[in-house]
């Protein structure tokens, strides 16, 4: 399926714009992960408490350390998706439309949205509840924004599979002169 020359250049320009936005998102997500610096200092405080032989007094630091580790989980997952998006935009910006790499990137983007949202709704609040001493399963927090992200992520995974099929069809078409 050949694209018109004008559509090609519009698509490429859009891809380059989105790549710039993706870089911005990566920087912001990375800054959010600077919380990990706080996690490292918590780790040191915890080690000091343990080495002083007073493990019980280190309990608040342990709790804070574990909470921080869990809270960054969705950010880490989204970071992977945005990185895949940036690479896909870069390839499209260079004119590569139908390719296995782009269909894999699309699937990666969808997966990261889906799993990041599920982590934010289910894993993070439930594990935080357990860290705070709650023994039940009542920590799950269903939020509509996260639910929408999960559904859209699933949709993007399917679109990635459709792109893989389109790539196969394009490849077949290229063999007809």
């Amino acid at each position: 399926m050949a694209l018109s020359r004008s559509l090609d250049s519009r698509l490429i320009d859009q891809a380059k714009t989105f790549e710039a936005v993706a870089w911005l998102a990566l920087v912001l997500l990375a800054l959010n992960l600077l919380r990990l610096v706080g996690i490292v200092s918590l780790g040191f405080a915890l080690a000091e408490g343990i080495s002083a032989g007073d493990i019980a007094s280190a309990a608040p630091q342990v709790r804070a350390f574990l909470r921080s580790m869990v809270e960054v989980l969705p950010t880490l997952i989204y970071l992977g998706g945005v990185w895949s998006a940036r690479r896909m935009f870069a390839r499209i910006g260079e004119g590569e439309l139908f390719s296995d790499a782009n269909s894999r990137s699309l699937a990666d983007i969808g997966s990261s949205l889906m799993w990041g949202a599920l982590a934010a709704m289910i894993v993070v609040p439930q594990v935080l509840a357990w860290i705070d001493g709650d023994r039940g399963l009542g920590g799950v927090r269903i939020e509509q924004e996260a639910l929408v992200l999960a559904v859209i992520g699933g949709g993007i995974v399917l679109v990635g599979r459709m792109l893989a099929e389109a790539t196969r069809l394009q490849s077949e078409l290229d063999e007809i002169v």
Binding site: E172, E175, I176, V177
Partner: protein, 80 residues
């Protein structure tokens, strides 16, 4: 048995170079080479018409075929 492309015979008859033919019909030399060796999945009618117009021939002079029952079942000569 697949359809055989006899384009080389017509090129020789018309004393034309493949490079010149490719340029006149708007194909790359690579694409024309693949067509000449039969390594393409198909040919568009548009391309066939251009070939016939430039080489002053009919499609039957560019393509040849011998009956093979395997073509009806989709079997390749290696599978039959």
């Amino acid at each position: 048995m697949p359809v055989i492309v006899t384009l080389d015979i017509m090129l020789a008859r018309r004393k034309m170079k493949a490079r010149d033919l490719a340029q006149r019909i708007g194909l790359s030399e690579t694409q024309l080479s693949l067509l000449r060796t039969g390594k393409v999945r198909g040919v568009r009618f548009e391309t066939l018409a251009k070939l016939c117009a430039v080489l002053e021939c009919t499609p039957g002079e560019l393509l040849d075929y011998s009956y093979d029952a395997g073509d009806l079942t989709g079997e390749s000569p290696d599978e039959a």
